[in-house]
C-alpha cells in the first residue's frame, strides 16, 4: 500500500496536538511549525498529485481491513487535485495570518488551522460515506473555533448562528446516511454504487429519499440557494483570513456532490435518473442570481466578498449540474480558480478593514491605498471573470460546455448578466472605497465609536505588513499561473472528468479484495 495517501491526514493530526500541548506558550515556535507543516503538506500534495496523474486509482485500507468491511481512503485524480488546492490555499493564508497578527488575537489559531486542514483533506480522500461525515465534523469543529477566533460580541453571535446551522446540517447528514444504509446495508461508496445499481427501480422510494436528503446536506455545505443563509453573516463576521480558508469549505460540498452523484447515484443509475440535475440546475442559477444581487447591494466589503463566494458557487454548480464530461472538466478548473479568487478578495478585504473599516462609504484615505487598490482590482477582475485572468477562462469553459444542453439559453443569460452585475457591483465598491474621500459637502462622521475603532486599529499595528502583502501576492501568483498554464490544467481536469464518469474503475480498485 502507498502510505503517502494517508499522510495529508496524519501530518496535521500529529502537528495540531503537538502545537497545543508542547508549544502552547510560544507563538514564534507555533508559527514556525505551522508554516513548516503547511509547506510539508504542499510537498505531500504535490507527490500524491504526481502519482494520481498516471490515472491509476490507489486505495489505502486503514488497519488493512479490505473494503467494504473497513474504511478505505481512495486517491484518484479528483481527490489529489483537491488536496493540492487545499495546500496551495493554506500557504498564503497562514503567512497572511502571521503577517497581519491575526493569529495573536486569540488562542490556538495554528492548532485549529491544522485540524481544519486535516478535516478538509480527509473529506477529499475518504471512500466511505460515514467517514465523510466524520471528516465533515472534524473540519466543522475546527471551523467553529476559527470562526470565533478573536472574540467580540458580534462575531460570537454570528458564531452561534453558524454552529446551529451546521449542527442541523450534520443531523440531516445522519438521517440521510441512515436511510441509505437501511436500504443498501453498506456505506462504502464503491459498494454503494454496486448495490444501488442492482436495486430494481420500482423498489427505491426510500433510497430516493436518502439520495435527495444527502443532496440537501451537500447543498447546505456548498451554500446553494435556498440553503445559503448561513454564509454571508458567518463569513463576514469571521476573521477574514479564516473566511479565506473557508473558501475551500464550500468546495467540500461541491466535491461531495460531484463524487456521490457521479459514483453512487450517477446520471445513468435508474434510481435517481434525471432527479439530481433537474433540481440542482435551477437552484444553481438562482444561487448565482442572488449572489450577484447581494454583491450589488452590500454595504460592507466583507459581506460583499461573501456574496462573491455565493455567486462563484452558483457558477460552479451550474457546471456540475450539467453532469457531462466537458462540463465537469470546466467545473474542476473553475473550482481551482474560484477558491483562489475568493481567498484573494477576502485577504484584500482584511487589508482594507484593518486600515479604514469595512463600510463601503467614503472615508478618510488610508495608507498604501494604491497597492491595496491594485490588489482589489486584480481580485475583482478574477472574480468577475474578465480577461486576462483565469476567471475568464473558467467562465468561457462553463459557457462552452453548456452549449447544446437543454437549458443553455437560461444558463448563458444568467452567467453573462450575472458577470455584468458583478462587474458593476465590484466597480462601485472599489471606487467608493479607494477613490472617494470626504467631500466638502459630506461632513466626516465623528462619533466616538469611530474614534474608538481607529484607536483600536492604531493600538494593534501589523507586526509584519510586508509578509501580509507578500502572501496576498502569492494568491495573485496562483491565479496568474492558473491562467498561464490553463492548457495543462484543463488537460488534467478533462482526464479527471473522464475518470469520474467511468465509475467502474473506481469500484474495481476499491473492491478488488472481494474478487480475489
Amino acid at each position: 500500500m502507498n502510505h503517502w495517501i494517508v499522510a495529508p491526514i496524519v501530518l496535521p493530526a500529529i502537528l495540531a496536538p503537538f502545537i497545543i500541548m508542547v508549544l502552547r506558550y510560544h507563538l514564534d515556535l507555533q508559527r514556525i511549525f505551522s508554516v513548516a507543516g503547511v509547506v510539508a503538506l504542499l510537498g505531500i500534495a504535490l507527490t500524491i498529485t504526481a502519482q494520481a496523474t498516471t490515472g491509476d486509482i490507489q486505495v489505502y485500507e486503514l488497519g488493512n481491513w479490505p473494503a467494504p468491511f473497513g474504511i478505505v481512503l481512495v486517491l484518484d485524480r479528483m481527490s489529489a487535485m483537491m488536496v493540492l488546492l487545499t495546500a496551495l490555499l493554506a500557504l498564503p493564508i497562514v503567512l497572511y495570518a502571521i503577517g497581519s497578527g491575526w493569529d495573536d488575537r486569540g488562542k490556538h489559531f495554528h492548532a485549529l488551522f491544522h485540524f481544519q486542514l486535516m478535516g478538509v483533506c480527509g473529506a477529499f480522500l475518504t471512500g466511505d460515506a460515514f467517514n465523510l461525515f466524520v471528516f465533515f465534523e472534524v473540519l466543522l469543529i475546527a471551523s467553529y473555533g476559527l470562526m470565533t477566533h478573536g472574540g467580540g460580541a458580534v462575531r460570537l453571535k454570528a458564531g452561534v448562528q453558524y454552529v446551529v446551522y451546521n449542527l442541523l446540517g450534520s443531523t440531516l447528514f445522519l438521517f440521510a446516511l441512515g436511510t441509505i444504509y437501511s436500504v443498501t446495508g453498506t456505506l462504502n461508496m464503491a459498494d454503494l454504487a454496486m448495490r444501488v445499481a442492482e436495486i430494481p427501480p420500482e423498489d427505491t422510494a426510500l433510497l430516493r429519499v436518502g439520495a435527495v436528503l444527502l443532496l440537501l446536506v451537500f447543498c447546505i455545505k456548498a451554500a446553494v440557494l435556498p440553503l445559503h443563509f448561513w454564509l454571508p453573516a458567518s463569513y463576514a463576521n469571521a476573521p477574514l483570513p479564516v473566511a479565506a480558508l473557508f473558501a475551500i469549505m464550500t468546495k467540500v460540498g461541491a466535491y461531495s456532490i460531484l463524487r456521490v452523484y457521479t459514483l453512487v447515484f450517477g446520471p445513468d443509475v435508474a434510481v435517481t435518473e434525471g432527479l439530481i440535475g433537474a433540481w440542482l440546475q435551477p437552484a444553481a442559477l438562482m444561487t448565482l442570481a442572488v449572489g450577484t444581487i447581494g454583491i450589488l447591494g452590500s454595504q460592507h466589503i466583507a459581506r460583499m466578498v461573501a456574496f462573491c463566494a455565493i455567486a462563484s458557487m452558483g457558477t460552479l454548480l451550474i457546471a456540475i449540474s450539467l453532469f457531462s464530461e466537458v462540463a465537469t472538466a470546466a467545473a474542476l478548473y473553475y473550482i481551482f480558480h474560484s477558491t483562489l479568487a475568493t481567498a484573494l478578495l477576502f485577504l484584500v478585504a482584511d487589508l482594507v478593514m484593518e486600515r479604514r473599516g469595512g463600510a463601503i462609504t467614503p472615508a478618510m484615505p488610508m495608507p498604501q491605498t494604491g497597492l491595496i487598490a491594485s490588489l482589489f482590482f486584480v481580485g475583482a477582475i478574477a472574480m468577475a471573470g474578465m480577461p486576462p485572468l483565469s476567471g475568464f477562462v473558467g467562465k468561457l469553459l462553463v459557457l462552452d460546455a453548456s452549449r447544446g444542453a437543454p437549458d443553455a439559453d437560461a444558463v448563458w443569460a444568467v452567467i453573462l448578466i450575472g458577470s455584468f452585475v458583478t462587474i458593476v457591483g465590484l466597480a462601485r465598491a472599489g471606487s467608493l472605497i479607494f477613490w472617494k474621500s470626504y467631500d466638502a459637502e459630506v461632513a466626516p462622521p465623528s462619533t466616538t465609536e469611530d474614534d474608538e475603532t481607529i484607536d483600536a486599529i492604531a493600538a494593534a499595528p501589523e507586526p509584519h505588513p510586508g509578509l501580509a502583502f507578500t502572501s496576498v501576492f502569492g494568491a495573485v501568483l496562483g491565479l496568474v499561473l492558473l491562467t498561464l498554464f490553463a492548457g495543462p490544467a484543463l488537460e488534467y481536469t478533462s482526464k479527471t472528468a473522464v475518470q469520474l464518469f467511468t465509475p467502474e474503475d473506481y469500484i474495481t480498485a476499491v473492491l478488488r479484495g472481494e474478487e480475489q
Binding site: Y144, G151, V154, V160, S170, Y181, A236, N237, L240
Partner: protein, 119 residues
C-alpha cells in the same frame, strides 16, 4: 415495537424542529439535543429492530443476531453530538455574556455596521 420507535423518532424530531425555530439560544440548543436524540434512535433502527439478539454471529448454531454496524455508527454519532452540544453551549454562553442578550438573531445594526469588529 416498530410503531413505538417510529413515533418516538417522529415526536422528538417535531419537538426539536419546533424548538430550533425559537428566538433565544437556550430553547434552540435544547431543540438541537432533541434532534440528535431522534437521529441516534433512527440510526439504531436502520439495522432493523431485533429483540434479545446479540450483535455477534454465532458460528456454532443458528441463532438470531442484530446488525452491529448501526451500533458502531450510533456510538460515533453520540460522541460527536455530545461534543458539539458542549461547544455550542460555550459559544452561546460567551455570546450572551459579551452582548448581554441571548437572542439568536442579530439586529440590523449588528450585521451591517460592524461585521468583524468588536462592538
Amino acid at each position: 415495537m416498530e410503531a413505538l420507535v417510529a413515533s418516538a423518532v417522529g415526536v422528538m424530531t417535531a419537538a426539536g424542529i419546533f424548538l430550533i425555530l425559537r428566538r433565544r439560544t437556550f430553547p434552540v440548543i435544547l431543540g438541537l439535543s432533541l434532534l440528535t436524540y431522534a437521529v441516534n434512535v433512527f440510526l439504531f433502527a436502520t439495522g432493523r429492530l431485533a429483540l434479545n439478539a446479540p450483535a455477534v454471529l454465532n458460528k456454532y448454531k443458528d441463532v438470531p443476531y442484530t446488525d452491529p454496524l448501526p451500533q458502531a455508527l450510533v456510538l460515533t454519532a453520540i460522541v460527536i453530538s455530545f461534543g458539539m452540544t458542549a461547544v455550542i453551549v460555550m459559544i452561546a454562553l460567551s455570546a450572551y455574556l459579551s452582548s448581554k442578550n441571548d437572542h439568536i438573531d442579530m439586529t440590523a445594526r449588528d450585521s451591517v455596521d460592524a461585521p468583524g469588529e468588536d462592538a
